[in-house]
Amino acid sequence: MDSALIPRGVKRCSLWQFLLFISVVGAVLLWGVYAMLLCWIKGLNQTNMNDYYGFAIWIWADLAVIAVGGGAFFTGLLRYIFGKDELKSIINYAVLIGFICYSSALLILAYDIGQPLRGWFIFWHANVHSMLTEVAFCLSCYFGVLTIEFIPLILENRQIDRVPFFHHLSHNMHEIMAVFAATGVFLSFFHQGSLGGVAGVLFGRPFAFREGILIWPWTFFLFTWSAAACGPCFTILITKITETVTRKKLVKDSAIELLAKISGWMILTYIIAKTIDTWYWATVTAPSLGQTLMDFYSNNPLYGIWILFAEIVICGFVPAAILITKKGRKNSVALWIAVILAVVGVCINRWVMVLQVMAVPVMSFDYWAMYFPSWQEIATTILPVAYGIILVGLAHRYLPVFPDESELNPIETLPAEEEETVEPPVDLEQELKPAGA
């Protein structure tokens, strides 16, 4: 029924199967929307936030999706600025994943501010001494960049591309995409960094406080670095999951391996810097503020020293060691483990920099304040995941997200079908071979 919308030269499941899939995920989405409306209509009393936790699971989710969404700006940098043409195979998907991550981040902020109708205040009545203002500016602008990068992909849908204006618009946007990508890199550098800077400047919170250069604490640079390092791993992870679900090869191995290799070296350099930062903080900064390392990790039910070990060693050095070796990158199981660990690692980092900061007692009368989110907070945090799955499903079905898919999955066409869904593009006809068993 929708065959006229499906890209040429590729095979998709039947419409009813697709609608069933969308319905199941859509039910989860509706659950999240219901919780979101509760928060908007009844207010933030629907959450378990309190005087200790002004930042809670939403801010963690926000920082986490922004970090893993960093794959879009870093892949764009490699593709458009450094000219890594091998990444052509995966750049569309990186942009789509980035678009989902950043739109999710803005959605989460929309319910976290409690009164979204006043969201524009941050632009008009800007507090120019706040790192969060910089985050809001750069986040919004970078979402604009990702939208601009995503539009040509939408315009390349078979039916839309038939309209001459849209066809030319898509082409023209491709031509100057390097300008948009460069702007995106500039914006990403500052908002990723400022998110780390927010934690680093909290001199009343010795767990987070760091020294640095001028107004920028070390966390500023570590956050940008970790996003550039682990973001591509998330792109690879989602690509691998999509390939598993669709049971197809969608991206060339050369693209995955190049991205994994660059990501591996980025993770290694980042985790060395993070280790030095942690060592200096534990031996110099924290003692100068009257605390020792174990003050931050003992006498509480959750935050043991294990979490530091997990973040730096298991989810830092281990994936780096796998990804920098050719053998590790070429082994499918090792690659899966490495990208999962890297993504978990950056999420743990954001968790401790948001939530453990709040948990650690800072006054003599304070206690370890534990927090568990309400079901409304959980539902609204799962909502962007459901939204992302639906958008990936729609994009995969109707847009040419994977330019090498038809080459990697040649299909045998029946004469009657050629005029319908699976007609190969003229320039690829010569390359099509019969499908394997």
Partner: protein, 52 residues
């Protein structure tokens, strides 16, 4: 916020922060305007030489 807003102060903080925002928005705006106008001209001329 613009310089004519009552909250505006001519200091480095405002110039850097708001200047950075306008700079980014200007690049995106000019870039998109160029693409749209060129697409309209190309479509009117029936120019269809490119493939991507």
């Amino acid at each position: 916020m613009f310089p004519f807003s009552f909250e505006w102060i001519w200091d480095m903080d405002h110039v850097v922060f708001m200047g950075g925002l306008w700079y980014a928005l200007t690049i995106l705006g000019i870039g998109m305007t160029y693409c749209i106008i060129k697409a309209a001209i190309d479509a009117c001329r029936g120019n269809d030489e490119h493939h991507h």
